[in-house]
């Protein structure tokens, strides 16, 4: 029983990290109607930036975020302006292709600069753990979860307590109407893309501190992130949180009680069933948006 409890607890903690990555993805979709296939590649890029800072400049992983988050934000804004804004027609479909191209460009550059070696992020706290009842909780999981909570709270404040947040939400609800009431939709889109990408800097650091990675790792990530946000209902931020945690908990418990080889099958089957009952996802508002 304590084993299942442990599975649930670690599932919640790692789920928090996935929530951080998925939040950016679903936010970008909500505002811009585009599916960012490069989100996984941005996570890995963020992890490599943290790696570079910690190995070459000996900057602590968490302190390094004060550098990597702004860098990734600026990168996001530039890429939106360069690659996403020119897409005028069939945005959703074309965005899949554009961001896929972006993902393989990032992967190729990472091979070029960092080689294909497995790397992992280290700091004094990555191997520490705290006794909780019959088992130990890894300190890095707790720290990463705390980081997710802080950043997601900041995101909440940004979206619900600022003027920019109002513009974002207005654009999510109805782009044309937002345009009509004088919201600079393009600026909102650029900043949103920047924020979504900036979140991956933190997600990447947390991911790299718990799992070894290579430039190739983004394929495994993006498929899970996509499934999470569809499960939640695309554009739903709170839903992405719950779905991330739910996915990790289900996988952990299945692999503890049954077998790891069926862990993701259970989740995918659940996803298919839920989409059949609620095609808009668990927390999605629109059944067939714009159709």
């Amino acid at each position: 029983m304590s084993l299942v409890l442990q599975g649930i607890v670690t599932g919640i903690l790692t789920g928090g990290v996935y929530a951080l990555m998925a939040a950016g993805l679903t936010l970008i979709f909500g505002v811009m109607d585009i599916i960012n296939i490069a989100q996984g590649a941005f996570v890995i890029l963020g992890a490599y930036l943290s790696y570079w800072l910690s190995v070459h400049l000996h900057i602590d992983l968490f302190l390094g975020l004060f550098i990597t988050i702004p860098v990734m934000f600026v990168l996001g804004v530039i890429l939106e302006w360069l690659l996403i804004r020119p897409l005028k027609r069939d945005r959703t479909q074309l965005s899949i292709l554009v961001t896929y191209a972006l993902a393989i460009i990032i992967e190729g550059l990472l091979y070029f600069f960092f080689s294909a070696d497995n790397v992992k992020l280290f700091a004094w706290y990555t191997t520490q753990s705290i006794p909780v009842g019959p088992f130990y909780l890894p300190l890095i999981y707790l720290l990463a979860f705390a980081l997710s909570v802080v950043l997601l709270a900041a995101l909440y404040v940004l979206l619900y307590r600022t003027k920019f947040g109002r513009s974002v939400r207005a654009t999510t609800q109805n782009r044309a109407a937002a345009l009509l009431i004088g919201i600079d939709v393009e600026r909102v889109a650029a900043l949103t893309f920047g924020v979504g990408v900036a979140l991956t800097a933190a997600g990447g650091m947390a991911y790299g501190a718990t799992t070894p990675f290579t430039p190739n790792s983004h394929y495994d990530l993006i498929s899970r992130l996509l499934v999470i946000i569809i499960f939640a209902g695309m554009g739903s931020l709170g839903g992405a949180l719950i779905a991330s945690v739910g996915m990790l908990v289900i996988e952990n418990v299945t692999s503890l009680l049954w077998s790891p080889v069926w862990a993701s099958t259970v989740f995918y089957v659940l996803l298919v069933i839920i989409l059949l009952v609620r095609p808009q996802g668990l927390f999605g508002k629109f059944a067939t948006r714009n159709q």
């Binding site: 292709l97 393989i104 460009i105 298919v272």
Partner: protein
């Protein structure tokens, strides 16, 4: 208005003014392509080149088949690797079960692999086709992963991660690729002809109507569920045959190479590159993309920069020609002729308005953004 013009796929639409004089050119063009394809491996006989040509035709055929469903109905599926993989495993299992030796005989199993894939498409389609747009895209991805996991885990049938082997044909290296090349060429021709017949039939118009406005199409009496599912199966049948020939060619298959996520992305990319919903589009896309990626991997793959160059090419294509090469070129030619004839500007062809009143598959808001 111009935006409406190029969303219309128009490979010689019957009864279209101005299109009639294209007919002879088109026939000559397709015949030339056919002859070029037939003599190609005889002229460029190096196995290194015919290997790439073979893989290119596999993708061209699979892309054409993908387009029969996805291009015409507007449902973007990223799960066709399920059919490819089903084809691979069907031929491997049947050859082992019936003790078929390497040679011509395994090719006889290829249509069975197609049938198996079409059968797999029934439950897949029944489940996935109840959803639309993004949900459909992602549900196909999810179902794809379920199948890949089954291939790993049903060890009794698939041998799990150890993979399966196919019989090895006794042919020598310098002629080895030819039978494979011509078999896949036949499949490709069948796929193109099927695609053409679908496009020029009432059935095809029903698919296009679904793309343009599914609810309205149903209102007009199109049996949308049946039309979608049958097109899905047709598409799966050809992709399954491609998988079977591919498997026989590479001779060993594994869950992650038969059910390959990159296959899903690649055929979609090829269709988009050439022009979604056009007959020549997926062909042209495969013809450009497959040799280019294989060559890039060989020539500059040592540094990992092949991925960068590939990505930059994709970006350039999508940003410069967002509607694909075939529609862009066609429109260019069409406009040139329209000008020379000093016709009053008439770029917008008469849309098949009776069937498809709403010709714009875009979300309305993005249209608004464009016109602003």
């Amino acid at each position: 208005m111009a935006t409406v013009a190029h969303t219309q796929t128009s490979a010689g639409q019957p009864g279209r003014s101005g299109a009639g004089r294209w007919k002879p050119f088109q026939i000559v063009f397709w015949l030339a392509c056919l002859i070029a394809a037939i003599v190609f491996p005889l002229v460029f006989s190096s196995p290194a080149i015919t290997t790439i040509a073979f893989f290119t035709l596999v993708f061209a055929a699979a892309g054409t088949a993908w387009n029969i469903f996805c291009g015409y109905s507007g449902y973007i599926a990223l799960g066709h690797a399920v059919f490819f993989g089903s084809g691979c495993y069907t031929i491997a299992i049947l050859c082992a079960h019936w003790h078929i030796a390497g040679g011509w005989l395994p090719f006889a199993v290829v249509p069975l692999a197609g049938v198996a894939a079409a059968i797999v498409a029934v439950p897949f389609g029944v489940v996935a086709l109840r959803t639309r747009r993004h949900t459909f895209v992602v549900i196909t991805i999810a179902i794809f992963f379920i199948f890949q996991l089954l291939a790993y885990n049903l060890r009794g049938i698939t041998a799990g991660s150890s993979g399966l082997e196919l019989p090895i044909p006794p042919w020598s290296g310098y002629v080895f690729n030819l039978p494979f090349y011509y078999v896949i060429l036949v499949i490709l021709i069948l796929a193109v002809v099927t695609s053409w017949f679908v496009r020029h039939s009432k059935y095809g118009l029903e698919l296009l109507a679904i793309r343009d406005d599914e609810d309205r199409a149903r209102g007009l009496g199109v049996r949308t569920g049946l039309v979608k599912l049958s097109a899905f199966m047709l598409s799966a049948f050809f992709v399954g045959m491609c998988g079977a020939v591919w498997a026989y060619f590479v001779e060993s298959i594994y869950p992650n190479t038969a059910f390959d996520a990159q296959f899903d992305v690649l055929i979609a990319l090829m269709a988009f590159l050439g022009g979604l919903g056009t007959i020549a589009g997926p062909l042209l896309g495969a013809l450009i993309l497959q040799p280019v990626t294989q060559y890039l991997t060989i020539s500059i793959g040592q540094s990992g920069l092949n991925l960068v160059v590939e990505g930059v090419i994709f970006l350039a294509v999508i940003l410069l020609l967002p509607q694909g090469i075939v529609p862009a070129v066609r429109e260019l030619i069409f406009r040139r002729f329209a000008r020379r004839d000093a016709m009053p500007v008439a770029p917008a062809p008469p849309a098949p308005a009776a069937v498809a009143p709403a010709t714009e598959p875009n979300p309305p808001d993005s249209v608004a953004a464009e016109r602003s």
